[in-house]
Symmetry: C2
Subunit: 425 residues, 2 copies
């Protein structure tokens, strides 16, 4: 099967990945005299910062996903292809996908990050990652199925296995999940599941460092810690996971947490495409680029966003693997490919934020350190602003207003696409 | 595993099925001095009349589904159990479920209808049914995946296999699906898939009778036929499906339609629970009841809605298998079980309606026969009215307004709950 991209005299720019970086770059280049091919394994862009709300039944997948084809409807030079990339051949400028092969003039690798299990098969087998809409929906279904199972169980050990949740990783994802779970326990559990004792649900958050949100200031870490503890989250700082087996997490100090659900939010690594020589890959699994986003030695191959590691004096370990770096690199690369700039890329730190719960967040930007209601309001506004699609903005906002007014998220549905009793390939 | 329903002196009424009948009955009885156990295999009530809009990417599953636990949050005597019923033992008043067994004082079977493949294994294997949210989502994913596959195909035969759709059954579901598909073809296909020639998409609607919507007047049938033909739907009336094989439908006149997607909307039969003696089951697969909704010979076992067949002088073949009969029987049975009526059930025909597309519907009620914009407006209002949940009403309405203004439904996402690359059990 071919990818069916028409021949053209225009420069062909192939972008792999339609996340924050790839999607924005495609937008920038869509009206240029270039042939743009945007390849993603999904037919939609997903807004990763809100994945945890999909998992927590606060938002529908569709509210944070935007169909790629709709985004580029009137762009005659832009071709969306839903395909899994098998490998790239940088020397011959060739990409092999499940759906066929394609040659490029310029290649932009924007494949983002994937969950880092640190090559530990047990971590991978026995935990639930949360890096995609699909994984978030899986987690949502699992949480509510387990609560149903807890109701029809009469062994205390089994009930706690169904109710307890362990989150590994105290970064923004872990903090936001823990906060949302704690609020669900507080506001919804006893109402929806009167047969269960909500006190039996333990939410553990495990972090290897001595504080949460290590990317932010100690002050924000401390506020986050206090807020989560007030919500009833059991924090285990300086705690190392030694082993995760089916039904239990073993910490290096010997402590054992028994649970049926371990959420893995302990780190990411680059989602490297096959075929790239090891010499271009950093030890933390990212593509090494110069400060023109070029993979070293290749003037026509670029990497942007979470998959890239641009080591600079200011950022010797590369930029933070977050949306702002990806978007800024995309904007810069767009200009560069149009010939509008020759200056190297420079990152502007826009700050960081994380939400903890209702009226509670921490935010740091422009020298400010905010927490509480103001930080929460800014968090809401920033997320609505960056969400793709007017309808998505509207529906997310309405959902949030609804949840805020009624202390209820309302999407506690266990739904799978099914057909004749079988889950379908 | 037990169902963990506490012992009680109150009469225990077990309701199997939370569709229009079971859900409404549970609402009626929830505050009575009875113990109500509501069993459903899903944790939500689904609004079946709008399933086709989920399949057609017009609505999110959550908009037409309502969590059962949320509906009955403050009802201390009502117990929701998400369980698959294996069988009932009417003589010993016992129900066996996957999650454990339970005894009843009174039993209400409200299991609804299931797709009728007329015992033809080939029909069942090679077609897609659309009787649940899960099946509708499956169909949505399949439609949009196939369009992606059509783009990366270069055999005309394969492309038409991916694009063509055959719908079997010219009742409301078939008509509504065909209309929605035709409008997608007209308004969206060429914009989202400029690489495809939208003329290559053929939408076939097959009906064995000589007219569509056989439950309505000939006038409405004719208007529906004209409207669908104008939308480009290929109608095959008086057409009988002889055989359905992978990739093709063979009609009894020898005609062969090649297609990768056959949607089966050709009929339903009762979703009978195992363990009920054949003598209580009608030839069309429903539970025979007297006009007190009682299964003959059992004063404490009732059947309501699509699964029931109450033969009366006016309705010698039972009532129409539609929401109004189920809801009216539920309301009546609620009163009867509370001792508030001794009169037998009597069905009030509220009429019928079907939507064909934008501004187009047919509706018959109170002696009126409406079509066009007025019928369409009434269709919208009736569906919003009967939808469960204020938020669902609001979100469905907003979605409809959005689609109406922008000729676009916007939910063309291929999403499955996935985990580590595997679709999960």
């Amino acid at each position: 099967m071919p990818l069916n991209i028409p021949d053209s005299d225009a420069t062909r720019v192939v972008i792999i990945g339609a996340g924050f970086g790839g999607f924005r770059l495609a937008q920038k280049l869509a009206s240029q005299k270039m042939q743009i091919v945007l390849i993603d394994k999904n037919n939609y862009h997903q807004f990763q910062p809100l994945l945890y709300q999909v998992a927590m039944a606060g938002l529908e997948p569709s509210s944070i996903s935007f169909p790629l084809r709709k985004s580029f409807q009137s762009k005659a030079n832009l071709f969306v292809r839903v395909a899994e990339v098998n490998s790239v051949d940088l020397e011959n400028k060739k990409i092999e996908t499940e759906q066929g092969n394609i040659y490029f003039d310029k290649l932009v690798i924007a494949t983002g990050a994937k969950t880092n299990f640190f090559n530990n098969a047990e971590f991978e087998e026995n935990t639930i990652p949360m890096k995609s809409v699909s994984e978030s929906l899986y987690l949502r279904n699992k949480i509510f199925e387990d609560l149903e199972s807890a109701i029809t169980s009469n062994s205390a050990a089994e009930i706690s296995k169904f109710m307890d949740i362990v989150i590994v990783g105290g970064g923004p994802t872990g903090v936001e999940l823990a906060g949302a779970l704690a609020e669900m326990k507080m506001h919804i559990l006893h109402k929806d599941y009167p047969d269960l004792n909500s006190k039996n649900m333990n939410i553990y958050l495990i972090e290897g460092k001595d504080r949460l949100l290590a990317g932010m200031s100690e002050q924000s870490s401390e506020k986050t810690k206090v807020a989560l503890e007030k919500l009833g989250v059991k924090l285990l700082l300086n705690a190392r996971v030694q082993n995760i087996q089916s039904g239990r997490v073993i910490l290096s100090d010997g402590q054992i947490l028994k649970t049926g659900k371990v959420i893995w939010a302990a780190g990411v690594t680059g989602a490297i495409v096959h075929g790239i020589s090891q010499e271009y890959i950093s030890r933390d699994g990212r593509l090494l680029t110069d400060d023109y986003c070029r993979i070293k030695g290749h003037s026509d191959v670029f990497a942007i966003g979470d998959v890239a590691r641009m080591e600079t004096t200011e950022y010797p370990n590369g930029h933070p693997q977050m949306a702002p770096a990806a978007m800024q690199q995309a904007s810069w690369l767009g200009k560069y490919l149009m010939g509008k700039t020759q200056k190297p890329f420079k990152f502007t730190d826009k700050g960081q934020m994380a939400t903890i719960g209702r009226n509670k967040a921490v935010a740091e930007f422009a020298g400010l350190k905010l927490s509480g209601f103001m930080a929460w309001l800014i968090w809401l506004m920033v997320h609505i602003y960056y969400l793709i699609g007017v309808k998505n903005k509207l529906f997310v906002l309405l959902n949030w207003i609804w949840s805020y007014l009624f202390y209820d998220q309302n999407l506690r549905l266990i739904i799978r696409p099914k057909f004749q009793g079988n889950t379908i390939k």
